[in-house]
């Protein structure tokens, strides 16, 4: 009798929360379905394609796609040839883009945030002005910059007023480091740097730096993203209690000292966020290349994202295109992890430093105070 009752009791009752489970999943269903179908599933499918030789005919799951293992990856990374060459150049270009954009945009947006954080009149106007470029589309901005930086355009006209001759910007494939080196007489002929190759690109070319054309994109990136990051920094700055700044002022800290010793350490989390977002964003640059240069001049504005697109959609080499996308994914994950590692907060209390007084301080009033 008792076990029978117990059995009845053990049967699951919906209770007051019963409907919630059903409703919960129902509410989430559209989101989960769409995420699953259009994000998770595609990744799986693309992974398959990257291991195949599909050329765009029919379905990639059908008869036209054959398993080729790591062939696509090998072609990109280790087998000398055009694929590897393009890939290497794309990596190099994007690398310099990241190298320049992330520090510059972080510094500029922090600078703007500090300026805008003062209690000055019209600060709202300035904040709006700096943020506005972030609201526009990449297409509009790219067209704008192509216009400004055309060889006979606005920027070069301005430079001519300063007595300088501007380069031909979007048509100039010379790496800026090369240009600097040429000032000192160095060049590419012969030598170790010209003869050794990595990913299809000579060491000398690896050291070229971003091309002049790429620099236009670099400036464009800083122009469009500084507003967003300025807002992030503003939020971080406003989290610093004003009394801490006042205490520092009383302690005799100048504005610069306050910035260096108080402000910057206290916005470390924001700094980390901005750098991480910057890394993730810069490694993915695509829209501007598609609209502005499609990789020219001389492949110096080619980026992995665009190369992936071009290889697949224009050359129907889908396997290679997918492989490039996954390698890019790996690069982004790598950099994110490295940043996280480098900015990890050392929270452990360090070993006690010993403060040995090296001699009596006769004049100090402190010594006369009993503890």
């Amino acid at each position: 009798m008792a076990t029978h009752v117990a059995g009845l009791l053990r049967r699951r009752e919906p209770g007051i929360r019963g409907h919630e489970a059903a409703a919960g999943w129902l509410f989430l269903l559209p989101v989960i379905v769409i995420l699953g179908l259009f994000l998770l599933l595609p990744i799986a499918m693309a992974a398959w394609v990257s291991f195949s030789d599909w050329n765009g005919n029919g379905s990639p799951l059908g008869a036209h796609a054959h398993w080729v293992g790591l062939a696509n990856y090998r072609d990109l990374l280790t087998t000398p040839g055009l694929d590897q060459n393009n890939f290497g150049e794309a990596i190099r270009n994007n690398f310099y883009y990241v190298l320049l954009v992330v520090p510059i945009q972080t510094a500029v947006s922090l600078f703007l945030a500090v300026l805008v954080n003062r209690r000055l009149k019209f600060v709202g106007f300035f904040r709006t002005a700096f943020y506005f470029p972030s609201v526009t589309s990449s297409v509009a901005i790219t067209i704008l910059f192509l216009f400004l930086f055309s060889p006979s355009g606005v920027i070069n006209k301005l430079l001519s007023y300063l007595g300088a001759t501007g380069p031909s910007w979007m048509y100039d494939p010379d790496g800026i480091f090369h240009l600097v080196a040429q000032q000192f007489g160095a060049n590419a002929s012969g030598g170790h740097l010209a003869n050794h190759v990595f990913l299809g690109v000579t060491y000398w070319d690896w050291l070229a730096g971003p091309s002049v054309a790429m620099c236009v994109f670099i400036i464009m990136a800083v122009f469009t993203t500084s507003g967003t990051f300025m807002l992030l920094f503003l939020a971080g700055l406003q989290g610093i209690d004003e009394s801490v700044n006042e205490a520092a002022a009383l302690d005799g800290a100048s504005e610069w000292n306050k910035f260096r010793h108080i402000t910057v350490p206290m916005i470390r989390p924001t700094l980390f966020t901005v750098v991480t977002l910057g890394l993730i964003g810069t490694w993915q640059i695509f829209d501007q290349i598609y609209v502005g240069s499609k990789g020219s001049p001389l492949n110096t504005t080619l980026t992995p994202a665009y190369l992936s697109f071009d290889t697949s959609f224009n050359q129907n080499n889908w396997g290679a295109g997918a492989a490039i996308a996954f390698i890019l994914f790996g690069i982004i994950v790598f950099f994110t992890l490295v940043t996280r590692l480098l900015t990890r907060n050392p929270d452990k209390v360090p070993r006690r430093r010993r403060f040995e007084p090296t001699g009596p301080i006769a004049d100090s009033k402190l010594s006369k105070v009993e503890a």
Partner: protein, 384 residues
């Protein structure tokens, strides 16, 4: 070490609000002065003007001989303990204390010594490597003190440093601060809204209200000779009883009692005045010829060493704003005015623990006429 002088100092904000009006104050070298008053009275503004954290709109502030109106905070040789401590959260205790030394490029060896000494004074030698978030409230407060002490400045400024601590800790720290200040003999200006704190810690206390200085005297003088209605009500706990009285030929009539008046008032027959009677000036009448107030006991609070009896007497209470503000925070004052009955006053009498009083008892309270205070109801000033 230096004296601080306020010369007609005024602070007006952009919208016209006057936080401090024509403040004249002189703090002697080595003195511990407390600025006290209800919120919004201007005490913190005055303190921040000494520090240089607020612009001075009018008048002059001098530290020592120097006029410091336009001197940046870092150059005034003034140290401040903030209400929320304002510790540098990313630095250790040692780094917090040593920051000012670092800014002035004090050599590392000397800095280390001074930090160590300060840590000893504030009792945190074992915590020098901790960060503020690893410390308790009391410890953080001591770090804030240490930061000020290590600089050996001319002036200490303290902005309600104990208000974030619990009651017991507060009492403890009060004594600590007073002791440290005495031994270092640094000129100190201390801001608080707690009049008990003010009375126990200050050499002299400045009572402020709505930006205007009310009285600046030693605590005992503030207590025994308040200059106006506000000071009389603000200082002392429980508050001074305020009753309306009328000047008559033979004295001042308060309810059914007639109280003797100082000679200055004899000429003002018919004038209404406020009579201030401290709770300890009332006792259970037991014969004798002292004037009495009779009434019914409302409540009795047993405090251990004494009792406080709230007695409803037939007299009119004084409902002037200064009195009400002295009792409660400014916002509550209006509500209180509406609640109080105009014709019945409740006085608080401090009685011995052995006295037998119960609620609803009819009692006669004898008034100690030597300790009466009279105030002009038109001006609020004391009549002497």
């Amino acid at each position: 070490m230096a004296a601080i002088t306020f010369d007609d100092v005024t602070k007006t904000y952009g919208d016209g609000y006057r936080a401090v009006s024509d403040l004249n104050l002189d703090v002697k070298d080595g003195e511990f002065v407390v600025l006290v008053g209800p919120s919004g009275c201007g005490k913190t503004t005055a303190l921040r003007m000494i520090a240089g954290l607020e612009e001075i709109t009018g008048g002059q502030i001098r530290i020592g001989d120097r006029v410091v109106n336009n001197l940046p905070p870092g150059d005034r040789d003034v140290a401040m303990v903030f209400q929320n401590y304002a510790l540098y959260p990313h630095m250790t205790v040692a780094e917090n204390i040593g920051f000012a030394l670092r800014m002035r490029k004090v050599p590392k060896a000397e800095a280390r010594q001074r930090i160590q000494e300060t840590a000893r004074v504030i009792g945190l030698t074992d915590h020098l490597d901790r960060k503020p978030r690893q410390l308790s409230g009391g410890q953080r407060q001591r770090v804030a003190m240490g930061r000020a002490i290590v600089r050996e400045p001319q002036v200490f400024l303290m902005d309600e440093p104990l208000s974030n601590l619990d009651a017991k800790l507060r009492v403890q720290m009060r004594a600590e601060i007073a002791r440290i200040q005495r031994q270092l003999s640094v000129t100190t200006v201390y801001v608080t809204h707690d009049q008990v704190e003010a009375m126990t810690m200050g050499d002299r206390v400045a009572v402020m209200r709505k930006g205007v200085l009310q009285q600046f005297d030693a605590p005992q003088l503030l207590y025994e000779q308040p200059a106006n209605l506000f000071v009389a009500s603000f200082i002392g706990s429980p508050a001074m009883n305020m009753l309306e009285g009328t000047i008559e030929a033979d004295g001042c009539r308060v309810g059914s009692a007639v109280l003797p008046i100082p000679s200055a008032l004899t000429a003002f027959g018919g004038k209404h005045v406020a009579v201030g009677i401290r709770p300890e000036a009332l006792s259970l009448a037991a014969g004798g010829d002292r004037p009495r107030l009779s009434g019914r006991v409302q409540t009795v609070e047993a405090l251990g060493p004494e009792q406080l009896a709230h007695v409803e007497v037939e007299a009119r209470p004084v409902l002037a704003t200064e009195v009400l503000e002295g009792l409660v925070d400014a916002d509550d004052a209006h509500e209180l005015a509406e609640l109080v009955d105009e014709n019945r006053a409740t006085v608080v009498a401090r009685l011995e623990a052995s006295a037998t009083v119960r609620p609803d008892d009819q009692v006669e309270l004898a008034v100690d006429v030597r300790r009466l205070q009279f105030f002009d109801l038109d001006t609020g000033l004391a009549c002497r």
